[in-house]
Amino acid sequence: MLKRYLPFIMAVGIGLSYIISGSSPVISSWKATLDKWFLISTAFAVLIGTASLSQVHWRNLRRPDRRIYSVALGIALYGTILLGLIQTGRGAQYQILYNMTIVPLEAAILSQIAFYITSAAFRVLRMRSFEASLMLVSAAIVMLYNVPIGAAIWPGFPVIGKWLMNIPNTAAMRAITMGAALGGSATAIRIFLGLERSYLGGGDE
């Protein structure tokens, strides 16, 4: 009984009290307290990502083709945490590790997409239909709007590109944003009414 209803009562109670205290200057300190408690609780849950990663790669140790990579990941992960605990993130050796791995590799991994995007321009962006053609033309104009050579080729490209971004694109993205906001709000109301309980799925009853 407690396992089933306590989390649900907590979610609804805390949520509603947050809303009420936020709109009332008399009890607004409760909202401020909940804000701080949210930050502290999420900070102390930081190891959940490490735990999940460790679980996945622990299983990979049984596979000879993936073992060495999982070992490397484990050494990198726990070595970084250990070094950070000893030195803090401001320590000299930690900074060397940081500057030699995270800074260059993050950019390198993300920049791979540049190659795939260029390849997609050749293989994927085909004028198979009117809608696909619209997308292609729009992409071409916005690309020429974004770079100096567009204005050098024809002064109209920046004008049309800006218009495309400000009017049709804004209309499309606005509708998508509004739809997402409606969906999010509906889910929030369903949570408060007890109709949505999928977030309580962790652990057994």
């Binding site: 947050y18 809303i19 307290t33 102390f44 490397a72 990198a76 945490i81 974004n146 949570i191």
Partner: protein
């Protein structure tokens, strides 16, 4: 051309080239470097959180200032690890932090996010449909019609009557323009990341170009 003499630069360049080698063909160096990056990055997130929040909360707020009420959210946060226990009497405790976060998150969605992403957007959509300038008038009407037609495209409660089907169809066209614009901007963004790495390789490592104009 002036090759760098720094070991760190050479190691960084080597790891960068190992990542790019994966673009040409999947190989063990690429996978190894990728796994190392994932490990260090995940570890860095933990270290940053411990340094900037966990340690000061315990050392300053609780131990020094005596704010013992902070033990409540600490335990709420720690309960999330109960999911790894096989004991049924314990592993249900992981629902408590989720309930806490979902409760507050839902409240924030209703009080803040809905206003910013819905109310403000409606206000900004309904611009004057009649103005002195014909171009502004066209743009305003297109904005109103565009938003309504895209919203109607996602309306699935019942099938639209045949004469009205042109509205969601127009919405599809507007969305395609938006997705095309997204692609165009993504090209600029991703190529600039690649440029940054090339500027490092050609400038800092090989010394062929100046890294700052």
């Amino acid at each position: 051309m002036q090759l760098s003499t720094s070991f760190a630069v050479w190691l960084t360049a080597g790891m960068t080239l190992a990542i790019y080698s994966g673009v040409y063909k999947e190989n063990p160096f690429y996978r190894l470097v990728e796994h190392i990056y994932v490990g260090v990055s995940a570890g860095n997130g933990v270290v940053a959180t411990i340094d900037n929040y966990i340690r000061p909360t315990i050392q300053i707020d609780i131990a020094k200032n005596g704010t013992w009420t902070y033990l409540i959210p600490i335990f709420i946060g720690l309960f999330v690890y109960a999911r790894y226990s096989k004991n049924r009497k314990i592993n249900w405790l992981s629902r408590i932090p989720l309930a806490f976060w979902v409760g507050i998150g839902s409240a924030v969605v209703i009080t803040k996010t809905f206003k910013a992403n819905f109310i403000s957007q409606i206000t900004a959509t309904f611009l004057p449909a009649v103005t002195n300038d014909p171009l502004t008038m066209f743009n305003n009407i297109l904005m109103i019609v565009g938003v309504i037609s895209v919203l109607s495209y996602f309306f699935f409660t019942f099938e639209m009557p045949r004469p009205l089907k042109v509205i969601p169809k127009f919405g599809r066209y507007i969305m395609m323009i938006g997705f095309g614009a997204a692609y165009g901007n993504t090209v600029l963004s991703r190529i600039s990341v690649l440029l940054g790495r090339l500027q490092f390789l050609l400038g800092n490592w090989l010394g062929i170009i100046q890294t700052r104009v």
